[in-house]
């Protein structure tokens, strides 16, 4: 399926990446190139084949349900572009 500019704009929106309207045509072209390459997968007979969930079969380990870490507010906020009064600060979300 060919991707047009509208689809490219929708994907950019979903990915939360701002793309200038004049760049959408070129972007759609690149998507079509890559998806065309991916289309080869349609040649493969996948009837009855399970999708891979784990490349090395393993049972997830369990551990006791207890607190193992915490009290790291300073470390957690250390790299924030905007931290105030012990919180991450962002533009107003709710009017």
């Amino acid at each position: 399926m060919a991707i047009d500019e509208n689809t490219a704009a929708r994907v950019a929106k979903l990915a939360r990446i701002k793309v200038a309207p004049e760049s959408l045509g070129a972007l759609a072209g690149e998507f079509n190139g890559i998806l065309g390459f991916i289309e080869q997968l349609n040649e493969v007979d996948i009837e009855g084949v399970e999708p891979m969930t784990s490349v090395t079969p393993q049972v997830l380990k369990r551990r006791v349900d207890e607190v193992t870490d915490g009290d790291q507010q300073g470390a957690v906020l250390k790299n924030a572009p905007d931290a105030r009064e012990g919180f991450f600060a962002v533009p107003k979300v709710v009017e």
Binding site: F37, I38, L41, V49, V55, V76, P81, V90
Partner: protein, 496 residues
């Protein structure tokens, strides 16, 4: 001793124990080499103070204990993808500018626990997405090798391009790399060094900036197979902080290096003979086959019928996982945040931050990943690719079940190409670099690239050996046999 930076890990380890040198001397030699190698743009964050302090501790440890670990006192470089406490760790991206991790990755922590010395952080493609180190925010890393007397700059490969360049140019004794589709093995082949990607789950991924979590593995990039064995042992092992890391004993890989391949079955997959493959690569492969045969291995023609579909499957699965992993870069918790206009809300903050912070290749892959995971396409693309992945893994299981011990292939479809030469190619052309390596990630297997020859212009070429899951010890021993037979000793002439 002179030229201490030119030593490998094993030689330096032995010299330290004989008292012929000190970690301080080794470290100073490497720091001087790095100082003089700005043109390679391999080291992008320099940590001489940390290095000299670690070297002093290592010298004290070596003096006081006969039992110091093998890596004790050995200066290495760390790929920028590894979080290192208090030291810039940007994954080659603008979006992590200024990020100083509050924690240490498990792999680098294990190296430091073993006494290794960190010289600095190494250049790489942005978020490890690339095969030429040209997507890095730091600019291109440069291959120390040139085409004869031609001064054109060549790529060291990618994504671990800085690691490869630094090891090949003797700026450090070894370096860490990571490999999602070939990012250790392809740059190793392009620069005439050794690089191993272990079995998925051998090394902890904790603290390594995630690209595609079901494919990413760390591994050593070194000057010899023996060095790879030494360093791999130091970084392997179970880590409770990575639920996919395997709780298996780590063998003594170096002790397993017998180089005895007599009676071993080496598979030669016919699907790796690609249309348009340069005759030099074919000749290199045939030479490697002859070497293994002379060493006593049994050569067996095999088929891995779904090989052709590995790259297309990879270019669904890896971007899908990347789009999810990279959702965390939102300008809230760390790294870059865009300057906002009056009236911009949180959505504009996300969109502008990610447009400014991610380079074009990363944006492209995040959006492809978003598309293949979006409603209506999830089954057609993502689930189909995961089913093809099951078949690719089964191809390998089938040949291993027939008694094949390891598989010999070229590591790359060409020698190192010129920086900028692929600028006008469409993205898929660049993706073809990983055609021989990406199957190994999809199947979770260990793979190693070993330099075995040079092309007509004098550039290094490598072969790849692929092993059974968890049998890195056997794989390294076969690689050691190949290394011995090939006798590759060429080095790049110093121009930088």
């Amino acid at each position: 001793m002179s030229d201490l930076n030119k030593l490998g890990l094993a030689e330096a380890r032995d010299a330290l124990r004989k008292g012929e040198t000190t970690s301080k001397e080794l470290t100073e030699a490497c720091l001087a080499a790095i100082e003089g190698a700005g043109a390679l743009n391999a080291f992008v964050h320099h940590t001489p103070e940390i290095a000299l302090s670690q070297a002093a501790k290592a010298d004290a440890r070596l003096k006081s204990s006969e039992e110091a670990p093998a890596m004790c006192g050995l200066p290495i470089g760390i790929k920028d993808l590894f979080c290192t406490k208090g030291v810039p760790s940007q994954a080659g991206s603008r979006i992590l500018e200024g990020f100083l991790p509050e924690y240490e990755s498990t792999v680098s922590q294990q190296l430091f626990d073993n006494g290794a010395v960190m010289l600095g952080k190494l250049n790489m493609d942005e978020f490890a997405m690339g095969s030429s180190n040209e997507t890095s925010i730091y600019g291109n890393a440069v291959n120390p090798w040139r085409r004869g007397n031609d001064a054109a700059e060549l790529t060291p490969g990618g994504s671990s391009g800085g690691s490869a360049s630094a090891v090949a140019a003797d700026l450090c004794l070894a370096a860490t790399g990571t490999d999602t589709g070939g990012s250790i093995r392809q740059p190793a082949a392009f620069t005439g060094i050794t690089g191993i990607k272990p079995t998925y789950g051998r090394c902890s991924r904790w603290g390594i900036v995630a690209f595609a979590s079901s494919l990413d593995q760390a591994g050593p990039m070194t000057k010899s197979v023996r060095d790879a064995a030494i360093m791999l042992e130091a970084i392997c092992g179970h880590d409770p902080k990575d639920s996919t890391s395997a709780d298996l004993a780590v063998p003594n890989f170096e002790a397993a290096l017998t180089g005895d391949v007599r009676g071993k079955k080496i598979g030669i997959p016919k699907e790796y003979r690609m249309d348009g493959m340069p005759d030099e690569i074919e000749a290199l492969w045939q030479d490697g086959i002859a070497m293994m045969k002379d060493a006593g291995a049994e050569i067996v023609d095999i088929s891995l019928p779904h090989t052709k579909y590995a790259l297309p499957a990879y270019y669904v699965i890896a971007p899908a996982e990347a789009s999810s992993n990279l959702a965390r870069y939102d300008g809230v918790r760390y790294g870059h945040r865009a300057k906002l206009e009056q009236g911009d809300g949180i959505t504009e903050m996300y969109e502008k931050t990610r447009a400014e912070g991610f380079g074009p290749e990363v944006q492209r892959r995040v959006m492809i990943g978003t598309y293949v995971l979006s409603a209506g396409f999830y089954d057609a693309y993502y689930n189909r690719a995961r089913r093809v992945r099951t078949l690719i893994k089964k191809d390998f299981e089938d040949v291993f079940a027939r008694g094949i011990d390891s598989i010999l292939t070229p590591a790359t479809p060409s020698a190192a190409f010129g920086l900028g030469e692929m600028a006008d190619a469409d993205p898929v052309q660049m993706y073809l670099n990983d055609v021989f390596t990406v199957t190994v990630n999809l199947a979770g297997l260990p793979g190693i690239a070993v330099p075995t020859g040079q092309d007509r212009q004098g550039l290094p070429l490598g072969l790849q050996l692929i092993g059974r899951p968890w049998e890195e010890a056997d794989l390294l021993s076969s690689a050691y046999a190949l290394e011995q037979a090939a006798g590759f000793v060429a080095k790049a002439d110093k121009w930088w």
